[in-house]
C-alpha cells in the first residue's frame, strides 16, 4: 500500500517536471501545437482544391475529410517527442541517477505517459478547434465523437511505448533524425491524405494495414466524416482494428521497455 502511494507520488513528481519544462519553454510548446494546424491549412487550402473525396463536395469536403487524418497523424508524430525526452535523459545520465535512487521504478514511465497524454489532449483540442473554425463538424453525436478522441489517444498511448523503447535502445547523435525518417513514411503511407486504392498494389496493402489507417478510418466513421471506404477486411473493420492495433503494439513494447529499463547498460 505504501509502495503504491509512493509510486503515485513519484509519478506525479516526474509529471510535474514536464509541466515545468513547458513553463520554461513556452515557445517550443506553441510551435509543437501549431505544426499540425499548419499541415491542415496547407493541405486544406493549398493542395485541397484539386482533391475530391467520395461523399464530400469540393474543397470544403476535403477539409472535412482532412481533420480526422491530421488528428491521428499528430498522435503518431508524438512518438518523436517521447523518444527525444527519454533519450536525452539516458544520454545525460539522468536515467542512471533515477535508477540509483530509492524511488518507484515505474515513476519514469508514469510521469512520461501522463505528461505526453496531457500534451496529446491539448494538441487534439487545438487542432479540433482549428478544424471547427474551417468548417469541420462531427455528425454522429457527441458520444461517437468522444469515442473517436478516445481511439486517437489510444493510438498516442501505443506510440508512447514505442517511443520509450526506442529512446532506451537507440544510441548516437543522429538518432532523432533516424526516428523521424522512420515516422514520416509510417505517417504518409496510410489513408490520411490519399486513398490506398490509388497506390501501387503492395504499397496500397501496406497502407491499408498501417495501424494509423485503422485509427483514421475509425475516426472518420465515428465523426461521420467522408472517407475512402475500401472493400478490404481491414478497411471494413476500422473501429475494431483501431483498438486491436494499439493494444497489440502496447503488448509488445510495454514489456520490452520495462525489461530494457531494468537492465539498461549505459
Amino acid at each position: 500500500m505504501n509502495r503504491l502511494r509512493w509510486a503515485f507520488a513519484d509519478g506525479a513528481t516526474l509529471t510535474r517536471r514536464d509541466l515545468d519544462h513547458w513553463a520554461r519553454q513556452p515557445a517550443q510548446v506553441v510551435i509543437g501545437l501549431l505544426f499540425p494546424v499548419m499541415i491542415v491549412l496547407m493541405f486544406g487550402y493549398l493542395l485541397g482544391g484539386g482533391m475530391t473525396v467520395p461523399g464530400g463536395s469540393g474543397a470544403a469536403g476535403y477539409r472535412e475529410f482532412l481533420i480526422p487524418g491530421t488528428l491521428a497523424l499528430t498522435m503518431v508524430f508524438g512518438l518523436e517527442g517521447t523518444f527525444q525526452a527519454i533519450k536525452t535523459d539516458v544520454s545525460r545520465g539522468v536515467t542512471d541517477r533515477f535508477r540509483s535512487m530509492p524511488m518507484a521504478s515505474s515513476a519514469v514511465v508514469v510521469g512520461r505517459s501522463v505528461a505526453d497524454l496531457l500534451n496529446a489532449v491539448v494538441s487534439l483540442s487545438v487542432l479540433a478547434l482549428s478544424g471547427l473554425a474551417i468548417g469541420w463538424r462531427w455528425h454522429s453525436g457527441l458520444a461517437a465523437a468522444l469515442a473517436a478522441f478516445g481511439l486517437l489517444l489510444l493510438l498516442r498511448f501505443a506510440m508512447l511505448w514505442i517511443g520509450i523503447y526506442l529512446g532506451l535502445v537507440v544510441r548516437g547523435e543522429g538518432a532523432l533524425v533516424a526516428v523521424q525518417i522512420l515516422v514520416w513514411p509510417l505517417g504518409f503511407l496510410s489513408n490520411t491524405f490519399a486513398a490506398p486504392s490509388t497506390m501501387p498494389g503492395w504499397l496500397g496493402t501496406i497502407a491499408e494495414w498501417n495501424p494509423l489507417s485503422s485509427t483514421v478510418g475509425a475516426a472518420r466513421e465515428l465523426f461521420g466524416n467522408p472517407g475512402w471506404g475500401g472493400d478490404s477486411w481491414v478497411a471494413q473493420h476500422a473501429i475494431l482494428m483501431a483498438v486491436v492495433w494499439p493494444v497489440l503494439l502496447i503488448a509488445v513494447f510495454f514489456p520490452l521497455s520495462v525489461a530494457r529499463y531494468r537492465n539498461l547498460d549505459r
Binding site: 513519484d10 513528481t13 516526474l14 517536471r17 520554461r24 539522468v94 540509483s100
Partner: protein, 320 residues
C-alpha cells in the same frame, strides 16, 4: 565496519572482460581512490556497486546490503555522481534539487528548504533560478554533487568527478569532498589523476584491464618503486651510459635513462649510503654532473611502472 566490499567481481561485455575478478574493502568513513587509465573498468565497478549493472559473477555489498539481492536498500544509502553531470538542463538548479528531493520522499517544504541549503553550500545560491543549460561545467558538477547529497547518504560514489574541469573548479570539488568526509561519509572516488588520489584518498586501488594491480596508501604505493630515487643529470650526454653503469654497480638495479634531460635515475634502498657512494664514484670517475637529487617517486611514476608491469605479465599482482 566495511562500507563497501567486493569479492571476485566479474563483468563481461561480449568478449570484453571489463572486470576480471576485483576484490575491494573500504572501511566506513574513509576515502578510497580507484585509479586507472581509460577503459580500466572503473565505471563498470561503480555501476555494479550502485545497482545500475549486474555483475556476471562475484558478490558485493554496500552499507552492509547485497547489491544484487537488496538493491532498494542499497539505493537508500548511496549517492552517485556519474561521469556526466546528471541534471535536467531545462530546469533551474533549484527545480532540479527540489525534484530530486521529492523523489527521495521529502515533503514539499522540506525539499525546498534542502534545495536552498544545498544551493548555498555549493555556491549556487545566486544562480539557483537560472536554467542549468546556462551553467558552466564547474557549476553543473557542483549541482550534480549537491543532488547526490540531498539525503546525506552514508556512502558516496564519485566517477571521475573532476574530469574536464578547470583547476579552480577541480579545487572546489575537492573541498566539497573533504567537507563530506569530515562529516563521516564514505567516498569511493574514481580518477585518472594521481594528484587527486594523492590529495584526497586514504587508500588507493589501482586497476588496469579489469584487474587490481596494486592497493595501499598513496605513500605506500610510492614506496613500491623501491623507496627513494636518485637522479643524476650529467653535463655532457656522452657520459650518460657510463653514469648508468656506475649507478647500476652501486644499487644492483637497472637505472632508467632519459636522454632528453641527460638524466639517469634509479631506485635506492639505503638512501644516505647510496647517495654518498654515488657522489664519491662520480667524483672519482671525473664525470661532470649538473645535478644529483634524492627524492620520493611521484605517483605518476608508480602508476606507469605498475601499468607497464601489468601489460608485461598479467598475473603479477603487487600489494603494499
Amino acid at each position: 565496519m566495511e562500507a563497501v566490499t567486493a569479492h571476485a567481481l566479474r563483468r563481461r561485455f561480449g568478449s570484453v572482460e571489463a572486470l576480471a575478478g576485483v576484490d575491494l574493502a573500504i572501511p566506513a568513513g574513509s576515502v578510497h581512490g580507484l585509479l586507472g587509465p581509460n577503459g580500466a573498468g572503473k565505471t563498470t565497478l561503480v555501476r555494479i556497486l550502485t545497482t545500475l549493472l549486474r555483475a556476471t559473477d562475484g558478490t558485493a555489498t554496500v552499507a552492509g546490503f547485497d547489491v544484487r539481492r537488496e538493491p532498494d536498500r542499497v539505493r537508500a544509502h548511496i549517492g552517485l555522481v556519474g561521469q556526466h553531470a546528471a541534471v535536467d538542463e531545462i530546469l533551474s538548479g533549484r527545480q532540479n534539487l527540489e525534484m530530486f528531493g521529492r523523489l527521495y520522499h521529502l515533503g514539499r517544504v522540506a525539499a525546498r528548504a534542502r534545495a536552498d541549503a544545498l544551493l548555498a553550500e555549493f555556491g549556487l545560491a545566486d544562480t539557483g533560478t537560472r536554467a542549468v543549460s546556462t551553467y558552466s561545467g564547474g557549476m553543473r558538477r557542483r549541482l550534480d554533487l549537491a543532488a547526490s547529497l540531498i539525503t546525506a547518504p552514508p556512502v558516496l560514489f564519485l566517477d571521475e568527478p573532476t574530469t574536464g574541469l578547470d583547476p579552480r573548479s577541480r579545487g572546489e570539488v575537492w573541498d566539497a569532498v573533504r567537507a563530506l568526509v569530515a562529516g563521516g561519509t564514505t567516498v569511493l572516488l574514481t580518477t585518472q589523476y594521481l594528484e587527486e588520489v594523492d590529495r584526497l584518498a586514504d587508500q588507493v586501488t589501482v586497476i588496469d584491464h579489469g584487474r587490481v594491480i596494486a592497493t595501499g596508501t598513496p605513500s605506500a604505493l610510492k614506496g613500491q618503486l623501491g623507496g627513494d630515487r636518485i637522479d643524476v643529470v650529467v653535463a655532457d650526454l656522452v657520459d650518460l651510459p657510463a653514469t648508468a653503469a656506475l649507478l647500476a654497480r652501486i644499487t644492483g638495479d637497472t637505472p632508467d635513462t632519459d636522454e632528453d634531460h641527460r638524466r639517469v635515475g634509479v631506485a635506492v634502498t639505503d638512501r644516505m649510503a647510496a647517495l654518498t657512494a654515488t657522489v664519491r664514484a662520480l667524483a672519482d670517475s671525473g664525470i661532470a654532473v649538473d645535478d644529483v637529487t634524492l627524492r620520493r617517486p611521484t605517483l605518476d611514476e608508480v602508476f606507469l611502472h605498475l601499468t607497464a608491469t601489468d601489460s608485461n605479465s598479467d598475473a603479477e599482482k603487487v600489494t603494499a
